[in-house]
């Protein structure tokens, strides 16, 4: 009697235990996403990218003729000091508008990696360090950089008038009289070019600066059309959003890719900065990326603040269209603080898998190296790295790389 009672109790207990164990196992075995994970995945899909806002500082930004002239200028090697380099020399159209080199080579060798251009018009700051505050102001900087296109301001104005005068005037209105403007002059050029620039009247300088700014506005109008393409990740996300627990067929992810995605938005904290449909917060962060030996000191954002403030083509300058209400980013810019030291812009990860090397000076040659860097989280040579060490196994690191590849297929 006593024994059989005990047995039935034990039986009930073991049945309950078995049920519990089954429930736990079933939960573990099903590779589904939590509601929070689904929400994050939806926020990363290309379909979540808002339509490109008008740039009120460039009233030609959405004028087709301006974009067409901008495209011509983008590919024209005449837009350089030596007649051999164009924007497209480094921003190669068939290579995601980048050049596969650790550091760009124009007329000379630069110290920074060429950035791809897909979706660039959604940014608030340009270059790795954000030293320009609009797409059109950005386009002007390489034109006069001696290591990039190595031209000078008056030479560009003369070239536009001689080569594209009619097209220019149909968009921007009459070109100024350049008869007494020196062939080669710029406030940023050689000593001779600076002297020639300083000898010009204020009205002449203003005329040339206006043509120069419009060159940037045309190139920016073209660049606004460069959008990121749909990827396998976006198809997976779209299928997941319809309620399918695990998308099938062409939209399917392998178990490794699913693990990588879960890590990306979870334990590995990648989504902290690589957020939103472009996989970037458009901000600047010190992530402890080591400097390249034998290159000049590169302190990132902290040195860019003064440069963007001094740029005559910035949002506060005379060449902005529209009102200063568009200048919020510049007005409320963080100007000082230790977090700006060696802080660089978060790059978009769309297409990244097929465009090594990585980081602002091409420090890492593979995604495996990038993931290993973030897993180890070494200290920065200056300032404090925002990255904290992760305990990622070999399998987890490989899964992250597998997921990143879905953003380039």
């Amino acid at each position: 009697m006593c024994c059989s009672e005990r047995w039935s109790k034990l039986n009930r207990f073991s049945r309950l235990f078995a049920l519990l164990a089954m429930a736990v196992l079933a939960g573990c075995g099903k590779p589904e996403f939590s509601d929070a994970e689904k929400k994050t995945i939806a926020s990363l899909a290309l379909s979540a990218l808002p339509p490109l806002k008008a740039d009120t500082t460039n009233r030609f930004g959405d004028v087709p003729a301006a974009a067409a002239l901008g495209a011509t200028l983008f590919f024209d090697v005449g837009m350089s000091g030596d007649g051999k380099v164009s924007c497209s020399t480094c921003h190669k159209i068939d290579r995601q508008f980048q050049d596969d080199l650790p550091r760009a080579v124009g007329v000379g060798r630069t110290n920074r990696r060429t950035m791809p251009l897909a979706g660039v018009a959604h940014d608030a700051w340009f270059f790795w360090d954000g030293r320009r505050d609009s797409l059109w102001a950005q386009a002007l900087a390489p034109l006069e950089n001696p290591l990039e296109q190595a031209g000078n301001r008056t030479a560009y104005a003369h070239y536009i008038k001689a080569r594209f005068g009619e097209r220019y005037e149909r968009i921007f209105g009459p070109l100024p009289d350049l008869t007494n403007v020196p062939a080669n002059a710029s406030p940023l050029g050689s000593d001779a070019e600076k002297a020639a620039w300083n000898a010009m009247s204020d009205a002449q300088a203003e005329d040339v600066n206006r043509v120069f700014a419009n060159i940037g506005k045309a190139i920016a109008a073209f660049e606004r059309s460069i959008a990121p393409p749909q990827t396998r990740f976006d198809r997976f996300a779209a299928a997941l959003a319809t309620g399918i627990q695990l998308p099938q067929g062409d939209d399917a992810f392998s178990p490794e890719e699913i693990l990588g995605l879960k890590l990306f938005i979870g334990k590995a904290n990648c989504v902290t900065c690589h957020t939103g449909p472009r996989f970037t917060d458009s901000g600047f962060h010190n992530t402890g990326v080591p400097p390249v030996a034998n290159l000049p000191a590169d302190r990132g954002r902290i040195d860019a603040v003064a440069q963007v403030e001094a740029d005559p083509f910035n949002c506060f300058g005379a060449f902005r269209d529209g009102d200063a209400g568009a200048c919020g980013e510049l007005r409320f810019m963080v100007k000082a603080g230790p977090e700006l030291a060696r802080a660089y812009k978060t790059p978009s990860l769309r297409g990244a898998a097929t465009r090594p090397p990585y980081m602002h000076a091409g420090q890492f040659s593979s995604l495996e190296e990038v993931v290993a860097h973030y897993s180890k989280a070494l200290a920065s040579v200056e300032g404090v790295s925002e990255v904290h060490p992760l305990q990622l196994s070999d399998r987890e690191r490989a899964a992250l790389v597998a997921f990143l590849k879905t953003l380039a297929e």
Binding site: G276, S282, G328, M333, K335
Partner: protein, 149 residues
């Protein structure tokens, strides 16, 4: 008798195991980004109780990744609007140990104790903190508002 002791021991063992699992889960789980309800209040007293403040987006909704204006409203405990206050703003994301991506500033006084705070931008989801240092005729005080995205 001995078998009864076995049940008691087994029960104690199971309880200890459960306590261990719970402790492991709660001690190692990442800190929940959601603080207690009162901490994300849009209205609160300053640290030393000098002012009653409220902080809310000027257009009602918080949008991630966009520059927005917020309104900081300052009143005395008696409900009188606080005018001519000097306000400085700092903050960041405590869980990620980084500061604000912008430098918000008090840009306009809109009357009735309301100050426009321009240049507020939240670049990611999670818990953000905004620290306000407020100086007015009644004295100086501080307040911290938590914003959860």
């Amino acid at each position: 008798m001995a078998s009864l002791w076995r049940y008691v021991l087994a029960g104690l063992g199971l309880a200890a195991l459960l306590a261990g699992i719970l402790a492991a889960v709660y001690l190692t789980a990442p800190q929940s980004p959601r603080p207690a309800g009162s901490e994300i209040a849009r209205s609160k007293k300053t640290a030393n109780g000098l002012f009653v403040t409220s902080f809310e987006p000027e257009r009602g909704v918080v949008r991630q990744g966009e520059l927005q204006s917020w309104l900081l409203t300052l009143r005395t405990n008696a409900g009188t609007p606080v005018e001519g206050a000097a306000i400085t703003i700092s903050g960041g994301m405590p869980q990620h140990r980084h500061g604000l991506p912008t430098s918000p500033q008090a840009t306009d006084y809109l009357g009735d104790g309301r100050y426009r705070i321009g240049g507020v931008k939240f670049t990611m989801s999670g818990l953000w903190q905004l620290h306000f240092a407020i100086s007015a005729a009644a004295g100086s005080d501080t307040v911290v508002f938590n914003v959860l995205l």
